[in-house]
C-alpha cells in the first residue's frame, strides 16, 4: 500500500482546519483543543488519508482519546499506515 509522508499528512490537516476558518499552527506541539481540532476532525483527516492511499485505517476510540497535540495526530496516522 502507498503511504503518505508526515509532511503530506500535515498539509491535509491544514486543509481540514482552513476549511473551517481555523489556522494550522506552526508548532507541532500545539494543543488540539486550543486550535479547535476535534475528534471528528481527526476522523475527517483519517478518511482523507484513506482516500489517498486507497486503504482503510480502522482504529479503536481509546487510541483516539490519547491524541492531544498536532504531533500526536501525525504520529498516529503514520503508525496506522505502517500497521
Amino acid at each position: 500500500m502507498s503511504t503518505l509522508s508526515r509532511d503530506q499528512i500535515r498539509a491535509m490537516m491544514a486543509e481540514v482546519l482552513v476549511a473551517q476558518g481555523k489556522q494550522m499552527p506552526g508548532d507541532d506541539q500545539a494543543n488540539l483543543e486550543e486550535i479547535g481540532f476535534r475528534s471528528l476532525d481527526f476522523s475527517e483527516l483519517a478518511l482523507r488519508v484513506e482516500d489517498e492511499i486507497d486503504e482503510e485505517l480502522n482504529f479503536d476510540a481509546p487510541q483516539l482519546r490519547q491524541i492531544a497535540t498536532v504531533s500526536d495526530v501525525l504520529d498516529f496516522l503514520e503508525q496506522l499506515q505502517a500497521a
Binding site: S39, S43, A46, N58, F59, D60, A61, P62, L64, R65
Partner: protein
C-alpha cells in the same frame, strides 16, 4: 400443558452463556446458591468457573464453547441435559464489547459483533426453547442487554444495534411463547468488568456524575433482578428492566 393457568415454575436447570467471568460468573454463583443447576460456557474457562464446577459436580456442567459455533453449542446443550436433566431456562449473557467510532470500525469487526451479540443469542434461545417445547415443558429466558439499546453512546454503534435487536426479539418471543415461556431483558448501565475496562477514569467519573443514584452499577445490583426473572412468580413478561442508577431517565 400450554392451556394451564398455573404460573411458570422457578427455573431448575439454567444455561448461562459467558458464565466464566464478570456478570455471567456472578449469575452462575447466584443460581447455584438458589439450589438450581447450571450449564455454563465461554470460549475460555476460568479458574473461578472451574472451581464452582468441582465444588458442585452434580449441579454444574461447564465447557469451553464459542457461542458462534452452533454445532458446538448443540453438543453442549445435549451433554448438559444428559448430566443435569431437562433445561428450562436460559440467561443469554455472553457478548463482546466495542469502543470505536462506526466510521472507523472495520466491516469484519461489525460482522463479528453482530454474530456474537445478536445471531448467537437468537440461535441459543431458539435451541433452548425447542428443547423446552419438545419435552412439553415451560421455561424462562433472560436476555442481558444494555442501556445502550435505549440511549446513544458514542463508540458503541454496532454493539447498541445488537442489544436493541435482542430487546425487540425478546418482546416478540414473549408473545410468541404464549404460556410456555416468560421472556425478559435486563439492561444494565456501565459496570466495571473486562468489557468496560477500556473506559478511562474520566469517562467513569462522567458516568457517575450523570447517575442520579450517585454510584455506578455493580454486578451485585443486577444479579437479584436476573434471580427474580428466573425464580420468582412475578408475571413479568416481555419487559426490559433497566438497572443503571437512573442514568438513562
Amino acid at each position: 400443558m400450554s392451556d394451564t393457568n398455573e404460573p411458570i415454575g422457578a427455573a431448575t436447570v439454567v444455561v448461562v452463556s459467558g458464565g466464566s467471568r464478570g456478570l455471567g460468573l456472578a449469575i452462575v454463583s447466584d443460581i447455584l446458591a438458589s439450589g438450581a443447576s447450571v450449564a455454563a460456557f465461554a470460549r475460555t474457562l476460568t479458574p473461578e468457573l472451574t472451581a464452582l464446577a468441582s465444588a458442585h459436580p452434580d449441579r454444574v456442567h461447564v465447557a469451553s464453547v464459542d457461542a458462534t459455533d452452533r454445532h458446538a453449542v448443540a453438543a453442549f446443550l445435549k451433554a448438559a441435559e444428559a448430566r443435569l436433566g431437562p433445561i428450562d431456562a436460559l440467561v443469554n449473557n455472553a457478548a463482546v464489547g466495542q469502543d470505536s467510532l462506526h466510521v472507523h470500525t472495520s466491516p469484519d469487526d461489525i460482522a463479528r459483533i453482530i454474530e456474537t451479540n445478536l445471531t448467537a443469542p437468537l440461535l441459543l434461545a431458539r435451541a433452548v426453547l425447542r428443547r423446552i417445547l419438545a419435552k412439553g415443558n415451560r421455561g424462562r429466558i433472560v436476555m442481558v442487554t444494555s442501556v445502550c439499546a435505549q440511549r446513544g453512546y458514542s463508540g458503541l454503534v454496532a454493539y447498541s444495534a445488537t442489544k436493541g435487536g435482542l430487546d425487540s426479539a425478546m418482546r416478540t418471543l414473549a408473545r410468541e411463547m404464549h404460556g410456555r415461556a416468560l421472556v425478559n431483558s435486563v439492561a444494565p448501565g456501565f459496570f466495571a468488568s473486562e468489557m468496560s475496562s477500556v473506559l478511562g477514569q474520566t469517562q467513569l467519573d462522567t458516568i457517575t456524575r450523570r447517575t442520579p443514584s450517585g454510584r455506578l452499577v455493580e454486578p451485585e445490583n443486577i444479579v437479584p433482578i436476573v434471580h427474580t426473572l428466573l425464580f420468582d412468580d412475578t408475571n413479568l413478561n416481555g419487559q426490559v428492566i433497566t438497572v443503571d442508577g437512573g442514568a438513562s431517565i
